[in-house]
Structure formats: structure tokens, C-alpha cells
Symmetry: C2
Subunit: 278 residues, 2 copies
């Protein structure tokens, strides 16, 4: 496709869950170390996109993503993907049975998620590392080790999977695709705003959504940092900017909130994707 | 005082910012490793209190604290303390000048806060550890090391302070004192609730606050975990349960929200403290 992006930046390292999402898309894929670096690249280069996690069904919104969306006024959300996070217990090829495992590498969040299974299997020597894919890498180089990681990372680093689905809970992460082009069609729309520091100000903002019968799918507050104990709001709602009703809602919102940032409308990614870059 | 608590559990290790808050109180102080352990102890023992961080002016609410307040129906908030988080660059006594520092230990958050200073001083070999007080401990045992930590931790572990106030931003953490006794006097009140999964439900909750002219100081959402993409709300507002207006507000709220949890009213801690345990 002539409208392929010049680069697809995703949260690395290779084998991460973001990497799996990136593999749904065509283009030159580049892992980066932090969410903030992805936003910097998307801001400074032309015709590139970024893939970042925005929310997890157990942990809530990803603060680094929200803070960057709030910071970069020219970066928009074009699409989203939901991915179920499934974890496996994978071992170095030298290991034949669970009793041979001397060490288990993983990321702290994944270790939390697999806590019950680790106790049941009596795996007590746990080593927290920077990511689940780094855990797979370390286990591939340590003949006495296992990793808690994705099936994808296990296969990337040649580990053998001893157990599937060792997480305790249903765990879904939502990723967004970001670029410098705004999209105005979709079933969801994202905005950020501040409210004046006086009684009833958030109420007056939500009143507009009620008036237009628009359903919020998410409301979240984050500290403004520059002023202690003041916050900005992140709101996602059903509807699209291409709809006159949503346009009017946003115009009315401007009367009761400050610093409104409209981040675009978007659909769930359906694999053909990327037409918004044409 | 005969009404001193039998135990004051705080988030350790020794030398932590929670330890500094605990030192404002009289009683038998015990550091614990996690916020969740503190809630367990307060639930299971009689006449004890806990001290946990609830919110930071840069990072926002502390999720482990909110999730535990939501989980334990019989644990209430009795008081709060605001503490400015000041960081120092402290060194092992073998070190005479900044050029001698080979390694800098600290917690990730503190390293973020001191980033500009570390770059300016050309201190590039950074080792993230589990807490700022652990960093001080490690630096006390490593003749080539420095720590980014509190003045309190530096003095506890016999380090020499080379620079004060090396953090970039004004950084305030709010701590709460929790126990099994509800308090109904204060300038703030805390509640949690769920809203029905239909349009306008949060709006209808906030309408009650507007009707009673009650100012929210915080509103925050957290995933319910058991059902993906559903949330509970944490709200703190001005006023006290001892006031008939607030009592009526909460009764009316019950008509529009579900699973309401009232966590008590409380003042900022003023050092005499602890009378609520009588």
C-alpha cells in the first residue's frame, strides 16, 4: 500500500505485547524503550504511527500514555485494539520437569497475575525483571530458569511451554494507534479538559453529556503536576466528531471547561486498518 | 496516654517517608513491607492503626491504598497528613567529592524526580532499588556509592549529604491514618461507590453534591477487576458526617449509586492526634 506509514513505533522490547499488536499492521516496525519516546518520534517524524497501551482491565489507565496525550496537542488517536493478556510458564530447553526449575524470571505485574499458580507449583525463587519478554530472553540463557511470559515471547526466544494460562484473572489490555492526523469517524471519541477550581464544575461538564444523551465509557483524573492537588480529566465517550450532535456538545462544553483537547474519533482495529493515513 | 494504640503499622522499611509520619505519633511503631499487609493487620488486630500514602501531587492516587479501602468495609480513615517530599544526594563516608561517586542508588520515582540534577552532575551509573531508604542502606555499605533519599534516611544510615533539594518539582504526598473506628467530624469526608452501567449515572450522582452545594476535592475511578471495563469511584469532599446536610446528601446518593462505602470524616493531623481512639 502506498499509504503505509514510514515507521511503526511500538513499546519494546521485541516480543512484547505491543509487538504482537504491531504485527497486525504492515510497515517498518521499530521497538522503543518508553512510551514517551514513542510520542517524541510521532511528533518529530512525518507519516509515522505509534502503538501504546492505554488501559488494562485490572490495573486501569496507563498514566504515561494519558500524560503524553495531554501534553502533545498535535497527536491524535486513530484506532484501538483489545488484547487478552495470556501468560505461560516457559522453560529453558535444558529443563525437563517443573522440579528442575531453580529460578523464575518475569515482570512484577505478571508475577502478581500468576501468584496463585507459582504458589501451587512451589516455585519460590522469583526474579523480577524489566519486562516479560526480557524474562524470556534471560530464561533462554540460563539452563536452570523459567519465565512467566507470553506464548509469543516464549517462541521468539526458543523456550518450551510447560503450562498455558497461568494468570489468575481475565486480563485485557487496550492499545491505541496514534499519529499526527486527526480522524473524525468512529464509535468512540476522546477528549481531555481542565475544570475551573470551584464547586459543581465537573457536574456542569457532565450535564452537557447528559443533555445530548451521550454515554461516557471512561472518566479519569490525573494531577496537573504544576499545581498540587489540581487535575485534568480524560474522557472517552460513544459517538463521533463527524456527528453534528457531538460537534454541538463539544462547543457547549467549551463554556464550562478550560483547555479542552480533542483527540479524535476511532473504531476498534479490524486488521485492514491504516486507511486513515491516506 | 491510656488510649495509645497497641501498634502503629507503617509502610517500611525504616527510614521511609511513612516512618517520618509515624514519628509524629506515640506508640509501638512497626514497619511492614506492603500497603496490603498494613490493612490486614489493622483488620485482624484490636486497637491498632495504620499509616499509608494515599496520594501524591505528581503521581496521583496510590492504587493499592484505594483498592484496600474499597475492599475492607470495616476500615475507616481518621486523619491525614501532608508531607513535602524533599530529596538529597547523600554519600558513603569514604567519598569526598562528587567525582568520586561511581554508583547512585535510588527508587525509580525518586530517580525520575532528580533526573535534571543527575544529568547536570554527570552521574550516569544509576541503580534502581526497591525504596529510597534501601538506597541509603546500600550506599552505607558501598564505599563508592551515593543515594538519592530523604534527609531522614541519610542520617539513619550515617551518610553525608552533598546536596539538598535535588528534586525538580514541588512534590507533596498525602498520608492517611486508618483504623477500625469511624470518625464523623472533620473538614473532609471519603466515600466509594459504583454507578449503574447506563448513560448519565455518574452525572446523577454528582447532581446530589451540586444540589447540596458540597465541593468535591477528589474524584477518581478504578477498575472493578471482576468485570472488565467497569469501575468504582473514589470521592472525597468538603464537609463532615456529623452535619445533617451531609447525612441527607448520602441518603439521597443511595438512590442513584450502588455499593456505597462511607469511610468517615477527618481533619489534617495536628500532632496531639489520636483522641479518636479513646
Amino acid at each position: 500500500m502506498s499509504n503505509d506509514p514510514n515507521g511503526i513505533y511500538f513499546l519494546g522490547p521485541k516480543g512484547s505485547f505491543s509487538n504482537e499488536v504491531a504485527d497486525m499492521l504492515e510497515g517498518n516496525k521499530v521497538p522503543l524503550k518508553t512510551i514517551s519516546e514513542i510520542f517524541q518520534k510521532v511528533e518529530n517524524e512525518d507519516n509515522v504511527i505509534g502503538i501504546v497501551p492505554i488501559e488494562n482491565s485490572l490495573e486501569g489507565p496507563v498514566h504515561e500514555t494519558l500524560d503524553n496525550l495531554y501534553k502533545y496537542d498535535k497527536i491524535y488517536v486513530n484506532s484501538y485494539v483489545e488484547k487478552e493478556i495470556k501468560l505461560v510458564l516457559a522453560v529453558n530447553n535444558s529443563i525437563n520437569k517443573i522440579e528442575d526449575i531453580k529460578r523464575v524470571y518475569s515482570h512484577n505485574h505478571a508475577l502478581q497475575e500468576a501468584k496463585a499458580a507459582l504458589q501451587r507449583l512451589n516455585l519460590m525463587n522469583i526474579i523480577p525483571v524489566e519486562s516479560t519478554s526480557a524474562a524470556a530472553l534471560y530464561a533462554s540463557k540460563d539452563r536452570e530458569a523459567a519465565a512467566i511470559c507470553s506464548q509469543y515471547a516464549a517462541s521468539l526466544y526458543g523456550l518450551r511451554i510447560l503450562m498455558n494460562n497461568i494468570q489468575d484473572n481475565l486480563n485485557i489490555t487496550r492499545f491505541i494507534i496514534i499519529s499526527k492526523k486527526i480522524t473524525i469517524n468512529g464509535d468512540r471519541t476522546m477528549i481531555f479538559f481542565n475544570v475551573p477550581h470551584k464547586p459543581g464544575s465537573l457536574y456542569k461538564a457532565l450535564e452537557k453529556f447528559y443533555k445530548y444523551n451521550v454515554n461516557l465509557t471512561m472518566i479519569y483524573s490525573r494531577p496537573l503536576k504544576v499545581i498540587p492537588w489540581q487535575y485534568y480529566f480524560y474522557i472517552e465517550f460513544e459517538g463521533e466528531l463527524n456527528d453534528i450532535r457531538i460537534k454541538n456538545l463539544i462547543e457547549e462544553l467549551r463554556n464550562v471547561v478550560t483547555n479542552i483537547k480533542v483527540k479524535g474519533s476511532y473504531f476498534k482495529l479490524q486488521f485492514q486498518a491504516l486507511d486513515f493515513l491516506s
